[in-house]
């Protein structure tokens, strides 16, 4: 416990990550305070997903330091399951458990990890299903829901663990355009309520309206990090300018 600034819920210091000979993260440093909302953007293959996957150790970094909620994630991490249970994650492809109904998707981790009683877990699950506005789908299977609904369920599933921070890995990239807004709406609500969030996304409107900081990555490096006004109006780096011109032009 007690590494770095205690106000920081997440701290990355000079993190490197290799996939074979390919360096996915180059000397990445980032700190996230409680309640802070970070949007990470950048071209594909720039290391955005790898970055947030390292934060809950779905990928192991090769060097540097990652501290999550006071736990250092280096070497063999014994309490990794406990750390992960405090960090919610939403994936691009939803990853709902196909063999479980929606309500059971939401109840599984609280029952097994938090040892909640059945009724307790059910109440929590229904509370969050109502927050993402699909309580009526509780007894259906994931395959019976639309993509947007599935992603909202995935957000609710993460929230059921009452996480300190939420990681979003391109949550709207696999969605049909008409479903993107319903997911962004839920994420925006969450941000307004003060949830600490790191979102990898290309939704620049979302970044503009909720982010405290927008981080631009390219080639495994953090190229630029600024509050949205400065980031969008006065990007400093040439690569950021190029990226923004490409992504905002359509």
């Amino acid at each position: 416990m007690g590494d770095g600034d205690p106000a920081n819920i997440i701290e990355l210091e000079n993190v490197d990550k290799f996939f074979g000979a390919f360096q996915a993260l180059k000397n990445v440093s980032l700190s996230v305070k409680k309640g802070e909302r970070i949007v990470v953007c950048g071209p594909s293959g720039s290391g955005k997903s790898t970055l947030i996957r390292c934060i809950n150790r779905l990928e192991e970094h090769d060097s540097g330091k990652i501290v999550v909620n006071g736990h250092e994630l280096t070497g063999a991490v014994k309490d990794i399951d406990a750390v992960r249970s405090e960090v919610g994650m939403v994936f691009q492809s939803f990853n709902l458990f196909p063999h479980l109904t929606i309500i059971k998707n939401l109840m599984l981790a609280p029952r097994l990890v938090r040892k909640s009683s059945k009724s307790e877990a059910r109440d929590t699950a229904m509370k969050y299903l109502e927050r993402v506005k699909i309580p009526e789908q509780a007894d259906k299977y994931p395959s019976q829901l639309s993509g947007g609904q599935q992603q909202r369920v995935a957000i609710a599933r993460a929230l059921c663990m009452n996480p300190l921070v939420m990681l979003f890995d391109e949550p709207t990239s696999a969605l049909d355009p008409e479903m993107i807004s319903e997911v962004l709406e839920v994420m925006t609500d969450l941000a307004r309520e003060g949830m600490t969030m790191i979102c990898v996304t290309h939704e620049m409107g979302f970044a503009r309206s909720v982010a405290d900081n927008v981080v631009f990555m390219d080639n495994g490096e953090i190229v630029e990090s600024n509050p949205p006004d400065a980031f969008f109006e006065a990007p400093k780096n040439e690569r950021t300018k190029l990226f923004l011109s490409q992504i905002l032009s359509h």
């Binding site: 992960r84 249970s85 994936f91 492809s93 063999h99 299977y141 395959s143 995935a154």
Partner: protein, 231 residues
């Protein structure tokens, strides 16, 4: 030649006397084989070479040799070994029934463990990651996520193996057991009418296969109810 339909109708009930033994061979070796297959699977995917290497050798041997040879080695070969005759297993291994069960179990165990492994490997990595991200331990992920999905994925191939096993039980007749095949061979020896008798036998085996197929079809349908409505 004259095809004797009456002989078919006459011999089917006689062969059905052996169906009990066929069922015993099938269910007992299927059940024991499944247990063996799960143990082999866990060893194989343990990530420890000293557990996975022996299973690979085992699977190679039992998949790579005819089951008839395996039955003969167990029935004719093992009793030659003194320590087998002295062991607690001798009461089982001195009986042809025990030998047949052992051979069928060892054989199907090898196949089924590979079928189950296929199921486990087929589980979407993203689902396991979602479980991990929620803080589920590796054991919980295996029990609550991997296993149920792997079972559904493995089921069609597994039902094939049960049908195979059912047909393999006929080989037990080579070591004196009077299952349906054994009875058929006895009747043929008495009547000199192999054509009619073996056709009758085929009809019975086909009926059994149909029953196995239907049962597994029903189980598959039940287990896949969550994927049926996929848009």
């Amino acid at each position: 030649m004259i095809f004797d339909t009456a002989l078919i109708l006459d011999s089917i009930p006689k062969m059905l006397f052996g169906i009990g033994l066929t069922f015993q061979l099938l269910f007992l070796s299927a059940a024991l084989g499944l247990v063996l297959a799960i143990i082999l699977l866990l060893m194989r995917i343990s990530g420890r070479w000293y557990l996975s290497a022996p299973t690979m050798v085992y699977i190679y041997i039992f998949r790579g040799t005819p089951i008839l040879v395996q039955i003969f080695i167990i029935y004719y070969g093992l009793p030659q070994l003194e320590f087998v005759r002295d062991s607690v297993f001798w009461p089982i291994l001195r009986e042809p029934f025990g030998c047949a069960i052992l051979a069928l179990t060892l054989n199907t165990g090898a196949y089924v463990s590979e079928i189950l492994r296929g199921g486990v490997l087929g589980v979407d990595r993203g689902l396991k990651e979602a479980g991990a991200a929620l803080g589920l331990s590796a054991r919980h992920r295996f029990i609550y996520i991997t296993t149920p999905i792997a079972i559904r994925l493995a089921l069609p191939a597994y039902s094939n193996d049960v049908i195979s096993l059912m047909k393999s039980t006929a080989l037990a007749s080579t070591i004196t057991l009077l299952d349906m095949m054994g009875i058929a061979r006895t009747i043929v020896a008495e009547t000199y009418a192999p054509y009619e008798i073996f056709i009758s036998l085929m009809i019975i085996y086909l009926a059994l296969t149909w029953m196995i197929q239907r049962s597994f079809g029903w189980i598959e349908k039940r287990m896949s109810r969550y994927v049926r409505s996929e848009a």
